[in-house]
Subunit: 297 residues, 2 copies
């Protein structure tokens, strides 16, 4: 059994991410951002959450750089990933999209700031992600911009969201796999690869990060679908069973609950195998992979 | 009087931009973009328009590089600017924002594809702009990403739009100037600077491009406001007098029609003076500056 103390590690890394995000948010006002816009961006960005993408990015950067002091470029990459993830949630929650009133137990952005501001706060978070990644002298920055843009774009996250809202969605496993590889998988994969790029890792480390990210991304999404069936609203911070109520095709709906859990576990094993040469036995990446399916919310 | 043939130049440059945009749009499908998303992006991107930002970018790139064969990086920068401009129009037209049914004489994106797809097509155009600029080996690409992101972001275009929809907008010239410097000026300024960066120009050329872009951007916006008062709906491709009808503060509303025209002309003179050392007398940049206020639509 693993002895790595994930709880302690995760709490420390999440605190590190909060500090990095706060530093960067504090620069917005002086740079000329209208206060109400800065407030709306801050509201959703600092609403908690697992910070999975930045934590993965920093973990890979630390491992390939063999140091735990974060470089400016790794910190920027980690924060940019959370900016992009947050923008996607703000836009997904809009009345024209999922029309959600609550997110992480708090009112959604448009419920607090109105729909026009929520659209613009999302646009600004997406754009500022690229300001963060592109600002600095390090040679890795153009590659980081490309990685982030491709993962977030038309053949990545946005494309996956389009597949998700399509009216003619087939209830087929291959469609569901493609959808989630694009909608959530691409950005999680990019988080891992961006950590390697920021930490100066080689091509082998990049390939391992991609394999790990793909597997963990899928395991995470399957676990999300399973939690929607099995967890309580209190654990989730939003109504449970919302996916089924909305008639959404989920992994449990398409292949059943047990087959979903089995697939998620297989993906976790794949992820752990991919990074063993990087971190050895019982490291943070293995623990994070297990966490994606063992979490309760 | 100027003898530079602007009509010929502009038609040729606009055709060049259409070809560059088409090339890049044709790559979306094979890269894995869902067809309906690619179609919605294409619909708004290829809806015509003056292509002012890419034309300015290419003009600066040609002048500082002293060649008219566009490099891949200048082409990518030019197209990225039009992607960002188009995304801003698609989101501005949304029911929650300006709720416009027509743009350039055609139905707006959400009227054709629905509101969710219009939000996502805008998101995708913004993101793909960074894919374009960040993809390639040239050293200028990170600086180009930064220039584009800063101009389009919270202290630039998005911030300007927030100032524009604020309920407590003062009817004051300084607020109007700040609003337009951010909402339209920042991206036009970036278009000029990105041309210099892509063409390998020096710090003096960059500063001249910034001065020119700021002046032209403001002149362009003032001319837009003046046209809304003086042009016909047929010339504009949208209802004339829409700004006044919507109770929007415009330059004519705040300082009057004649003072608006005078300010626009002053800005054109400033712009022309800034770039004379780069292109000499009677070059394309001077002609483009004059065009921003002399156009009929």
């Amino acid at each position: 059994m693993a002895t790595f103390q994930l709880d302690t590690f995760l709490a420390a890394q999440q605190a590190r991410v909060e500090a990095l995000l706060n530093e960067r948010m504090n620069r917005l006002g002086p740079a000329g951002t209208p206060p109400r816009l800065a407030e709306a961006m801050h509201y959703s960005l600092m609403a908690g959450g697992k910070r999975l993408r930045p934590v993965l990015c920093l973990a890979f950067a630390d491992i390939v750089a063999r140091e735990s002091t974060v470089s400016a470029v790794a910190g920027d990459a980690a924060c940019a990933l959370e900016y992009v993830h947050t923008y996607s949630l703000v836009h997904d929650d809009l009345p024209a999209m999922d029309n959600d009133d609550y997110r992480r137990g708090r009112l959604t952005n448009h419920k607090v700031y109105g729909e026009p501001m929520a659209i613009l706060a999302g646009d600004a978070l997406l754009t500022e992600a690229f300001t963060l990644v592109a600002s600095g002298p390090e040679a890795a920055r153009a590659a980081l911009c490309r990685e982030l843009a491709v993962a977030a774009g038309a053949a990545g996250m946005v494309g996956g969201q389009v597949l998700d809202i399509a009216e003619d969605r087939p209830a087929a496993l291959d469609y569901l796999l493609r959808l989630h590889r694009m909608k959530t998988g691409a950005l999680i994969r990019a988080a891992c690869r961006m950590g390697v790029l920021a930490g100066g890792g080689d091509a082998d480390a990049l390939a391992r990060a991609a394999a790990y990210g793909e597997a963990v991304g899928l395991a995470f999404q399957i676990a999300d679908d399973v939690l929607d069936v099995t967890a309580t609203a209190e654990q989730l911070g939003k109504p449970a069973g919302a996916d089924a109520a909305a008639g959404r095709f989920t992994f449990p709906a398409v292949v059943g609950l047990e087959a979903s859990r089995k697939l998620a576990k297989e993906k976790v094993s794949e992820a752990i195998a991919a990074v063993r040469p990087l971190e050895g036995e019982d490291g943070p990446l293995a623990a994070l992979a297990r966490y994606t399916v063992e979490r309760q919310s």
